[in-house]
């Protein structure tokens, strides 16, 4: 049996593979081709949403495997932190607790989402090195996994938000619908941000610590634990706050949740920054996508 020709046989176990059937890759692609390949990558990630969901679920399950409370540690630790910080800072900032605590709860939980998305995003490709080098798969899937995982974490914290709103008898029924477009914008933005930071993190290994320390600074500069109303009489500071992309993104989610009206300018700024982010992430992805396996 020296030479084995292709002979079709019945295979009880085997099922036909449903992998991408064809591939045409050039060492010097034209712009049109790179954009088309990047778009195919994104579409493949969308098609594999079941895989993204399961990966994210396993990520969270793994983190708490063997623990008694499991993922409810997420809920519990958020509750403890908000209770501890809330009463102290209400005093420090001379705020009424029934206004300040709901504000702080919503802000901190939303900020937690942003900061973990940036941290996880900057390592999303380097962490997936094993998968990337084992088989051809869409690279944007790893960014989608970061977003999905953090949405699941957020879902555990929504319990705290609901609890606080019930305790302080706030019913943001009228504005609750405007959460939907804001949530959609958040999903798209965090996906673009993860993808961009993931590529930067794969190419430049200093990215994760830089992002971490930047986000720490941004946390203090952005009205997360302090209310922007405290700056009302300082015109120039207020302008700086309004131009902060994280402030406008927080506002469009925080406003409806607290039953407050969102300034149209916040939406404008949020959308403006989002367009810049999406174009930047898309451009870098189209250009650098093929290099990712070489970088990780």
């Amino acid at each position: 049996m020296n030479v084995i020709g292709p002979r079709r046989e019945e295979m009880a176990a085997a099922v036909p593979a449903r992998l991408p059937a064809s591939l045409d890759l050039s060492g010097a692609p034209r712009w049109g081709d790179t954009i088309a390949t990047a778009a195919r990558d994104l579409r493949a990630t969308l098609r594999l949403w079941r895989l993204v969901w399961t990966l994210s679920l396993f990520d969270i399950r793994l983190r708490y495997r063997g623990s008694v409370l499991g993922p409810f540690w997420l809920t519990l630790s958020t509750t403890i932190m908000i209770a501890a910080i809330g009463f102290l800072y209400a005093r420090l900032f001379h705020q009424q607790i029934d206004h300040y605590l709901p504000f702080l709860t919503v802000s901190l939980i939303l900020w937690n989402f942003i900061s973990t998305v940036t941290a996880d995003g900057s390592t999303c490709l380097t962490q997936a090195e094993g998968m990337i080098r084992a088989m051809r798969m869409p690279h944007s899937l790893h960014a989608a996994r970061v977003v999905m995982r953090n949405i699941l974490v957020f879902a555990h914290n929504v319990v705290v938000i609901v609890g606080v709103l019930v305790i302080f008898r706030m019913w943001p029924v009228a504005s609750v619908l405007t959460i939907l477009p804001a949530a959609l914008l958040w999903c798209v933005d965090s996906f673009a941000l993860s993808l961009l930071l993931g590529m930067l993190g794969a190419r430049f290994r200093d990215t994760p610590p830089i992002v971490a320390s930047m986000m720490q600074i941004v946390f203090y500069l952005t009205p997360v634990i302090w209310n922007p109303a405290m700056l009302m009489h300082h015109g120039i500071a207020m302008v700086l706050v309004r131009l902060n992309p994280f402030y406008s993104l927080l506002e469009i989610m925080r406003g409806p949740l607290l039953g407050e009206k969102v300034e149209p300018v916040a939406w404008l700024v949020a959308c403006g920054y989002s367009v810049i982010l999406i174009v930047l992430a898309g451009g870098v992805f189209a250009r650098a996508r093929g290099r990712i396996p070489y970088w990780v």
């Binding site: 049996m1 020296n2 030479v3 084995i4 020709g5 292709p6 002979r7 079709r8 046989e9 295979m11 176990a13 085997a14 099922v15 036909p16 593979a17 449903r18 992998l19 991408p20 059937a21 064809s22 591939l23 045409d24 890759l25 050039s26 060492g27 010097a28 098609r47 594999l48 079941r50 895989l51 399961t54 990966l55 396993f58 793994l62 495997r65 094993g130 998968m131 990337i132 080098r133 084992a134 088989m135 051809r136 798969m137 190419r203 290994r205 093929g290 290099r291 396996p293 070489y294 970088w295």
Partner: protein, 247 residues
């Protein structure tokens, strides 16, 4: 039409990370040939150079060559993992690459969870996933281990798991590194039949091996890789004779 063609393909690894400066020194003295200094990108390794090759249905290609000759990189290129830096690669057909037993497995997840992920990647639904899990379970005899993290498996168990997972899909183009054929005797006996059916069913096989008996047994064409280039491409007898002849 199932096929694979590479036209003057080059693959270059950039050396961005690590101690590139001291690495540069050692590297330039030992293997000057394959390192090139590009002004913009710094130091780079030319892992594959000017690879032109075309495969059609029925081809069973064996890759031979010394360690570091670029065999595994060529397999990764054909799998679409590394995209060419120069030239053009066209692949028509569903590719499965069996490169490394542990690769693509999440060591912290259980065997069953790993199977689910692989099945979801192939686009399977719940019924198909169950079927795949059953199939892998009965083939590997892992029993209760299938519900334990892969980290707790022995090396042999990991080989069995990845082998069963990889051979459960029927690829049109099958790319294999030799680890699959180098299992222990008991496993090989069990695996032989399953492997043969998968290999026979594949339209194109590319197999990288150091074992010339394996190459002679499975392949009808051999490419000799040397320092990232194709040194010889022909029938097993010709190419192996050239490869084995004293220089």
């Amino acid at each position: 039409m199932i096929g694979l063609s590479a036209d003057a393909v080059g693959v270059t690894f950039p050396l961005y990370h690590g101690e590139s400066r001291s690495l540069k020194k050692t590297v330039l003295t030992t293997a000057a040939g394959r390192f090139k200094q590009s002004s913009r990108r710094g130091l780079a390794i030319e892992a594959l150079r000017d690879i032109s090759l075309s495969l059609h249905a029925g081809d069973r290609l064996g890759l031979v060559g010394a360690n570091g000759a670029g065999k595994t990189t060529l397999l990764r290129l054909m799998a679409g993992i590394y995209e060419p830096v120069a030239g053009r690669l066209v692949v028509n057909g569903a590719v499965t690459a069996l490169l490394d037993p542990g690769q693509g497995l999440n060591m912290d997840l259980t065997g069953r969870e790993n199977i689910r992920l692989r099945a979801l990647f192939s686009g399977y639904r719940e019924a198909r996933i169950r079927q795949l899990q059953e199939d892998v379970a009965s083939f590997t005899n892992l029993g209760a281990f299938l519900d334990l993290p892969v980290r707790s498996y022995s090396a042999g168990m990991i080989v069995r798991l990845s082998f069963a997972m990889a051979t459960a899909v029927k690829p049109q183009i099958l790319l294999m590194d030799e680890w699959l054929l180098a299992g222990d005797a008991a496993f090989m006996e069990q695996a032989q039949h399953r492997l043969e059916t998968v290999v026979r069913a594949a339209d194109i096989l590319v197999l990288s091996s150091h074992n010339n008996d394996i190459i002679r047994r499975w392949c009808n064409r051999v490419v000799w890789m040397d320092e990232g280039r194709i040194r010889a491409d022909g029938s097993p007898d010709e190419a192996l004779a050239a490869y084995l002849s004293p220089k």
